[in-house]
């Protein structure tokens, strides 16, 4: 019997506009989207199509201008910043295009950060951080600061950090965009492992090596979904 998978993301008539000066710029228009547990969704489209904005809304980093977005049963437009912070810490692992590591913390401390925020014990935090760094092959760089790491290494630390609290949803924004081919392959391999672990993954990417793992592909243009490829 086929297992019924839970709905992880549900967006209906989702719109996001930015106001710059007196000018209103639509970033997302009337997005309707559902993502179920364990799904690997790849989002692609030209620059400025709204990929990052969509990931930000799903991750509770931003609020929609109109429409609804429900993630793991929580209507994200209805909560305050404190709840959204707890939500992100519990449900979401982010991997940003520009790595976004905290420059004053070492690799190990960057990975530990979400667990420390969640109030884990010191010993447990240390064990898991070391394990995650081993997973991404960076045990030997644990005490290095981001400025002392290469782009690929920083991206791998970012992946380890995204997995810190073992979140069920991983949001990844252009993970190979700034990397060379070889380093990009390492990232692809990590994503493959995450898919096999059954994580729900949404990746904004143009990288065909990543797209081939996707269960579904969303083509975004001018803030609209113009195609959904199975």
């Amino acid at each position: 019997m086929k297992k019924i998978r839970e709905k992880v993301v549900s967006a209906s008539s989702l719109c996001k506009e930015y106001q710059i000066g007196g000018l209103i710029i639509p970033a997302l228009r009337d997005i309707n989207l559902e993502v179920v547990e364990g799904e690997f969704v790849s989002i692609y489209g030209p620059s400025g199509a709204g990929k990052t904005t969509l990931l930000n809304l799903i991750g509770g980093l931003d609020q929609p201008t109109s429409g609804g977005i429900v993630v793991f049963g929580h209507d994200l437009s209805a909560y305050d910043e404190d709840f959204l912070a707890t939500f992100r810490s519990t449900y979401v692992g982010f991997v940003f295009q520009s790595y976004n590591l905290v420059s004053t913390l070492t690799s190990l401390e960057n990975v530990s950060f979400p667990m420390e925020l969640a109030g884990w014990s010191e010993e447990r935090v240390r064990e898991r951080s070391e394990k995650l760094l081993r997973l991404v092959g960076l045990s030997h760089r644990a005490n290095h600061f981001p400025a002392q790491l290469s782009g690929g290494e920083q991206q791998r630390v970012a992946f380890a950090r995204a997995l810190a609290n073992d979140p069920p949803l991983i949001l990844v924004d252009e993970p190979t965009g700034n990397l060379d081919v070889e380093t990009g392959l390492e990232i692809v391999s990590i994503l493959e492992k995450l898919k096999m672990k059954g994580k729900t993954i949404l990746v904004a990417t143009h990288d065909e090596r990543i797209m081939k793992f996707a269960n579904r592909m969303l083509h975004l243009r001018d803030g609209r979904i113009v195609a959904k490829d199975e």
Partner: protein, 622 residues
């Protein structure tokens, strides 16, 4: 673009930074101008010229305070300007790189930024001067409205001009340093995203112990990363907090000390008995300290003013009269007698000190063992064995003598060795206390006592007053309580200090500006990192805790330095024999703690502003 248009537009574009610098320097200039003008008007001029209302001894305490605070104000003003210019230049170094890369000569770029500095400094000093003068007028008017006849003296324009230029020069000297440093940066370096002007460095900072809590670890690392800016912030804040400590601790202790000196000199629970002409004259002479009164000359030796031994004995026997102090008061010409000291340079064994200056003074014959006052005395008090010894008032000592305790004073053609100098508000400190018998012999050999000081038990006050009135009824004598005059003295000193004591508010404002400027820079520099932390689940209060911890570390380090130096200045240089009670210590500690807490709280403003931005908008910034 013209050499003026660019700097003016640039300053207008950077309203917040410009505003911070102008307000900081304006406050320092205004405080200094106010202090010196106000001090001069009520008689403790910075030039230490004797005059005004207070006695010279009291004036010296005020003068030292005014001098110390003014010096610190100038230093703080220059440091604050330099620090805020430094913060500004740390954000401008890229602009400098662009200007130089597009062919602008270093000297022209330097000229632009120097013009900006000059505009800020001149605006601040002009605004500060106007504000200081207005505050001075307001304070004098307020003192007059409170019943103290303080006359408005003409403004000392030279002093104002000197202070103005001292601020302008000091601010330029220190303020130009960060500009020179920024101009020297090569264009390629300035345009490199890796370059930092001391506010951020490529090095992530020293690793902190992993045992430190998350908040403390992040805050510590952030401070270490901006080592140069942090060091400057600490120096600047330490200077401001030194000033704050001197004004708070010095002000409170000097206030309490001067009030205590006055209380000891006038005496508490003292009733004087004498002819109404004489008690009125004495009250007027005592009130010279806080109000200018015309003193009519009277013949102190007139027979009607004499008090009989019989009456003295009767008044001594009243229950509740603790001490009786008969005195012979008169006015006389006194003159300086040269003294002989051993030459400190040992060229000749002895040298003469002093001159032959002379003047009018109030001379009081006292019986040393019965004196009710407990003046602050430099030297010694008179004792029963003294015959031709004298204790003189502080104003007389400073105006007429070179080394009073090595000299003598001539009264009625007789030399009296000066045993000590007392701080006394009576006749503005122009007083001489000599043994009663000696004075009596010198004047006519008959006059003995024309005024009587009775120290009474305050719990039996009304009964004692009634008994005294009963004993003197039928004579021409009347009792007069001095407590009212003493309260006026204390109120006068209290009001003066309370006007001066709002200076810490200015210092607090200056310190807040420094910390606020630094925290703005810090939060702006960490904005993206705070965004990342929030994206990872950090709540706004976690960010605010980190910023608070940064501010706390900077405030505590600079507070420890500033408070230590401030207390050293206060106790070692400012007040030689301070009167310190438990309540003084409590209020000084409480106020300093309040200043530090307020500083940390004010510094949260940039953090609160930062967490209001959405995470996505922060992360989308390059």
């Amino acid at each position: 673009m013209s050499e003026i248009a660019f700097p003016v537009k640039d300053l207008a574009r950077r309203k917040f930074q410009t505003g911070l610098t102008i307000v900081g320097l304006t406050i320092c200039t205004a405080t200094t101008i106010f202090l010196i003008l106000f001090g001069e008007n009520i008689g403790f001029e910075i030039a230490l010229v004797t005059g005004g209302k207070l006695t010279t001894g009291f004036s010296n305490i005020f003068s030292r305070f005014v001098f110390m605070v003014s010096f610190l104000n100038i230093l703080v003003g220059a440091l604050v300007t330099s620090f805020l210019v430094y913060l500004s230049m740390s954000e401008r170094v890229r602009d400098v790189g662009i200007m130089k890369a597009t062919g602008c000569l270093s000297s022209i770029a330097f000229g632009y930024f120097l013009t900006e500095l000059s505009i800020i400094v001149f605006l601040s000093c002009v605004a500060g001067t106007i504000l200081g003068v207005l505050t001075h007028f307001a304070s004098i008017s307020a003192l007059s409205a409170l019943g103290f006849s303080v006359s408005q003296r003409p403004l000392n324009l030279w002093m104002i001009v000197i202070i103005f230029f001292v601020f302008v020069v000091a601010s330029h000297i220190l303020g130009i340093q960060p500009v020179i440093k920024a101009i020297r940066v090569k264009p390629a370096e300035a345009l490199s995203p890796l370059y930092s002007y001391g506010t951020t460095s490529g090095e992530p900072g020293k690793p902190a112990s992993s045992r430190l809590s998350l908040t403390l670890r992040v805050a510590y690392r952030a401070l270490m990363r901006r080592k140069s800016a942090t060091r400057r912030a600490i120096i600047c804040l330490a200077a401001v907090l030194t000033l704050t400590t001197v004004t708070i601790a010095g002000g409170i202790i000097a206030s309490q000390t001067t009030q205590k000196y006055v209380e000891r000199a006038v005496g508490r629970d003292i009733i004087i008995v004498g002819h109404p002409d004489l008690t009125g004259q004495y009250a007027s002479l005592l009130s010279q300290f806080f109000e200018t009164k015309e003193i009519e000359p009277i013949n102190y030796l007139d027979e009607k003013y004499q008090i009989s031994e019989h009456l003295i004995s009767e008044l001594s026997n009243i229950s509740g009269v603790l001490k009786v102090d008969p005195r012979l008061v008169l006015e006389a010409n006194v003159s300086e007698v040269q003294g002989v000291i051993i030459d400190p340079e040992e060229q000749t064994p002895y040298v003469l000190v002093g001159d032959h200056r002379f003047g009018e003074a109030l001379v009081l014959g006292v019986q040393p063992e019965r004196v009710v006052n407990e003046w602050l005395i430099f030297g010694r008090v008179l004792n029963e064995t003294d015959v031709y010894s004298a204790v003189i008032g502080d104003s007389l000592a400073l105006e007429m003598f070179a080394d009073p305790q090595k000299q003598a004073i001539m009264v009625f053609e007789k030399n009296f060795e000066i045993a000590g100098v007392c701080l006394d508000p009576l006749n503005n400190g122009k007083v001489v206390y000599v043994p009663l018998n000696a004075l009596s012999t010198l004047v006519d050999g008959q006059s003995n006592c024309n005024i009587l000081f009775l120290k009474i038990d305050p719990s039996k006050r009304s009964q004692v007053v009634a008994d005294i009135e009963e004993r003197v009824s039928g004579t021409m004598l009347e009792p007069l309580e001095l407590n009212g005059i003493l309260e006026k003295h204390l109120n006068f000193l209290g009001y003066i200090w309370s006007f001066i004591m709002f200076l810490p508010l200015f210092s607090l404002a200056t310190a807040t500006l420094c910390l606020l400027g630094y925290m703005m820079l810090s939060v702006t520099g960490q904005q993206r990192e705070f965004g990342i932390m929030r994206a990872l689940g950090a709540k706004p209060k976690t960010i605010i805790k980190i910023v608070f911890t940064e501010a706390l570390i900077v405030t505590l380090i600079s507070g420890a330095i500033g408070v230590f130096i401030g207390l050293f200045f206060t106790f070692v240089l400012l007040i030689p024999e301070p009167v310190i009670s438990q309540s003084t210590l409590t209020s000084v500690a409480g106020l300093l703690l309040l200043v530090l807490i307020l500083l940390c709280l004010f510094s949260l403003y940039p953090a609160v502003r930062a967490v209001k931005k959405s995470v996505a908008s922060v992360l989308s910034q390059p």
